[in-house]
């Protein structure tokens, strides 16, 4: 199941130093997912993805359990106990139970995935995640045939998460995906960044990454995954149903009611950074558009 989606240059490439530098860049618009093509450099005319620095990725975070400021998570997340850690997988699965993080890791294939990351606040990054496909984790538990959705829940630890004192959201943070979205090969559980263990402010020890959706869908520090036949409640949809839909696919044509989503600013450009146009499905249109064929995306935003 692993390696169903390929960066065009991966850690497997044996490369001279010049090319090694390029390993950190992948091309946008890789064609032919699932069609068996091997995407080469020519398949990707256009923009190269230059990953953000470790410092940028780990110092500018939205993780409201640790405070609403962008630097709060890096400052406050140190108290989070991440070992031991287990994920309860329940609902419509054949083998419900508490899955120990280390046991999970021993069964999963970890790959590097260099993805765009687009926040609903109209900033973006490129992040070299390490992680495994969510589909592989769900296979461990055995998804039953009636299941249609997957719900996720973040840890709720008032003694370790100072942000929980404030009713910014209805804690714990919850998110959800349709089952086909969850099983899509782009959807991963990230456990690392730049081949290092994922820092707490980024969602240690494991967090969801769904690169074609706004960042808040990519729920952090997951303790529970529930398979259901009903659309799960999601935290941001709960506080602002007009502003945050269940799908939350990146879509430059559908504005957030309070600001435009047509453009974004990539973190790291300094005081004079230019805005760039936001891409449909955050640049993963070729990979995921078919999941939504026939749906009115302005209505199901």
């Amino acid at each position: 199941m692993a390696y169903r989606w390929k960066n065009d240059l991966t850690a497997q490439d044996v490369t001279p130093y010049d090319a090694f530098l390029n390993r950190r860049q992948i091309m946008a618009g890789i064609a032919g997912l699932g069609l068996g093509t091997i995407a080469g450099p020519l398949a990707a005319a256009g923009d190269e993805l230059e990953p953000n620095s470790w410092e940028e990725i780990t110092s500018y975070n939205n993780f409201y359990e640790f405070g609403t400021g962008k630097e709060d998570p890096a400052e406050n997340a140190g108290a989070l106990t991440i070992s031991p850690w287990s994920v309860k997988i329940d609902g419509m699965v054949d083998r419900p139970g508490d899955y120990d993080f280390n046991d999970i890791m021993s069964k999963m294939t970890v790959e590097e995935r260099i993805y765009r990351f687009r926040c609903v606040e109209a900033w973006s990054m490129v992040i070299p995640w390490n992680g495994f496909e969510l589909a592989d984790l769900l296979d461990l538990a055995g998804v039953q045939s009636g299941a249609k959705y997957v719900g996720f829940e973040t840890a709720l630890r008032p003694s370790e998460m100072p942000g929980l004192k404030y009713p910014v959201l209805d804690w714990p943070y919850v998110e959800g995906l349709r089952l086909d979205e969850a099983l899509h090969p782009l959807t991963i559980m990230a456990t690392g960044i730049y081949d290092k263990r994922i820092p707490r402010q980024n969602g240690a020890p494991l967090r969801l990454v769904v690169p074609w959706k706004y960042g808040y869908k990519s729920i952090k520090s997951v303790v529970r995954i529930t398979l259901t036949d009903k659309q799960p409640v999601t935290s941001w949809n709960q506080v602002g149903p007009r502003e945050y839909g269940f799908y939350s696919n990146v879509n430059p044509q559908v504005s957030h009611p309070r600001w435009s989503q047509a453009s974004e600013r990539k973190i790291g450009g300094g005081l004079f950074a230019r805005r760039t146009p936001t891409l449909m499905f955050n640049g993963y249109e070729d990979d995921v558009a078919e999941l939504y064929s026939g749906m009115d995306l302005a209505k199901h935003f």
């Binding site: 900033w123 910014v168 309070r258 600013r265 973190i267 005081l271």
Partner: protein, 207 residues
Amino acid sequence: MIVDRLNTAQRRIPAWTIYGLGLAHIVWLFWLGLSGGLGVEPISALEHMLGETGLKLLLVGLAITPLRRFAGINLIRFRRAVGLTAFVYITVHLLVWLFLDVQMLGEIWMAIVKRPYITIGMVGFLLMIPLAVTSNNLSLRKLGPGWRRLHRLTYIVVLLGALHFVMLAKGFQIEPLAYLVAALGLLATRPKWRGRSGPGLSRVSRG
């Protein structure tokens, strides 16, 4: 008495100190933005710090009269400088939004028309312009009682500023609401400020 000592001490500080500190702080913020001191996303950080400081100064300006009335601390000498410095912060906040944040002219107009929090912020800014222009002794003399009436626009400006902040917060956040509560609280200390013309203070002390 501490109040007397404060009142004596403040006389030794020239009012222009406020302008100097404000301008130095703004230059300092830009320097931080350029040198990485505002984090990895300096545009938003700069924009927010300028806006928030402007709002704070508006609240300080609004606190000067009640401070004199209820605590006997007289800082009235600084009020013009505080108000004008707030105007400078908010002007620079707007310029950062226009030229560093949004950048695209077409987008700017759309944002002002379509995004209520930006509409409210813009109205607040526009209402500040006549106040800034008339914040000098000549205007004060020329406008007579009308000056005081005109400058009651501050009350609306502060409310719009706080509302602008509340409306752009994601989720339920305490900080912007605290500003709104502070603004409402300070306004509540000014009864009958809708009045016709007369000198507000004496009217209040009579009623």
